[in-house]
Symmetry: C2
Subunit: 205 residues, 2 copies
């Protein structure tokens, strides 16, 4: 047992508060819920946690959290070695994979630069990223961090870090989401979609 105190309820609430966005109230709700349900529910969660933590680890090459090391994407012979997509998290990687539109490799930074939260470049996997690009087979690096303040700062940092290697650097497009109404699109997104407009005639920018 890892519990620090000896009150199992307080220990459980304290442990559940580790979860992102979970405070005292939600943790208490979770705890009492799990205590009211049949024991199998709590045991199921505990077992799945221990099992996932034991079997899932970051891929030593790209950082993606999977069971295989290197991960299936890194070892796949059908993926394009010349294109590298840089993402903040494994969830973002999976979101891109779900589109089926990308056939290159990935690099997972495990976060974004956020001075307010005390996250600096040294906390992310920029060292491994630079080493991979220096190997020479990557020709284009797509910066697919979020179009948020932190994501933009992270993309800018990556751009400055990698520019000396001579790799081509691109950034994912940001604008009005497909299917969305302009009326309900926030002004910042709308401004960005105007600034990044592309020509529809043959003389594309």
């Amino acid at each position: 047992m890892k519990a620090s105190g000896d009150d199992p309820l307080s220990n459980l609430i304290r442990a559940l508060r580790h979860l992102p966005g979970v405070g005292e109230k939600t943790a208490t709700r979770f705890a009492f819920f799990l205590l009211r349900e049949p024991p199998s529910v709590a045991n199921d969660v505990a077992a799945a946690l221990a099992d996932a933590r034991a079997r899932i680890a970051p891929c030593e090459r790209c950082g993606h959290l999977t069971e295989r090391n290197p991960c299936t994407i890194c070892v796949s012979p059908t993926r394009d070695d010349a294109t590298l997509c840089v993402v903040e998290t494994s969830q973002d990687l999976l979101a891109i994979e779900r589109t089926g539109a990308y056939r290159g490799r990935y690099h997972v930074l495990h976060g974004a630069i956020a001075p307010v939260d005390g996250v600096g470049p040294e906390d992310l996997t920029f060292g491994a990223l630079l080493a991979r690009v220096k190997e020479g087979s990557i020709r284009e690096m797509i910066l697919a961090t979020s179009p948020s303040v932190e994501g933009e700062a992270t993309a800018l940092y990556a751009e400055r870090l990698l520019a000396p290697t001579g790799v081509a650097i691109s950034r994912i497009a940001s604008g009005v989401p497909v299917g969305a109404s302009l009326e309900y699109t926030d002004p910042t997104t709308l401004e960005q979609s105007l600034a990044a407009r592309t020509r529809r005639s043959s003389d594309r920018r």
Copy 2:
């Protein structure tokens, strides 16, 4: 291991979805968070869960979820045996205990009657409640279920069930919360607070 499939990530997400109010997206966020943190965090949650589930059970007398059976409130010699406070959950019991204003015993129903969710009286601890009242030492039963549709239905059911025993039955007051502004109080609460007004002169109702 209790996992049904063999993909530890999917198993973990599925297990975390058991938690109240947690859907696919939140469960995925929790799972990846726990996988990125040091193993001690996930292990801490898993251990606290297993420990709490093993050591905490409903008190055989009042239903409160605690480590002791019967619970410390049921065995306390300083509490008033003549007053019984009926609550929906152990959280509600703890909320009343925090006020320090109640010195009687409790009975935890473990829910409220909610036909929409398939919860009927037979799913709650009304049988044990009736048996306790029939023992004869309880003179007043305070119905402290929530002033919600379900809580009111539950209080009404309890009232009808217990009336034949001759026990005095009371209901907690409902109205504008202390410190709240009337301007921002919802109309139903305001209507209730008007209907349940009490006289301030000596001839109290």
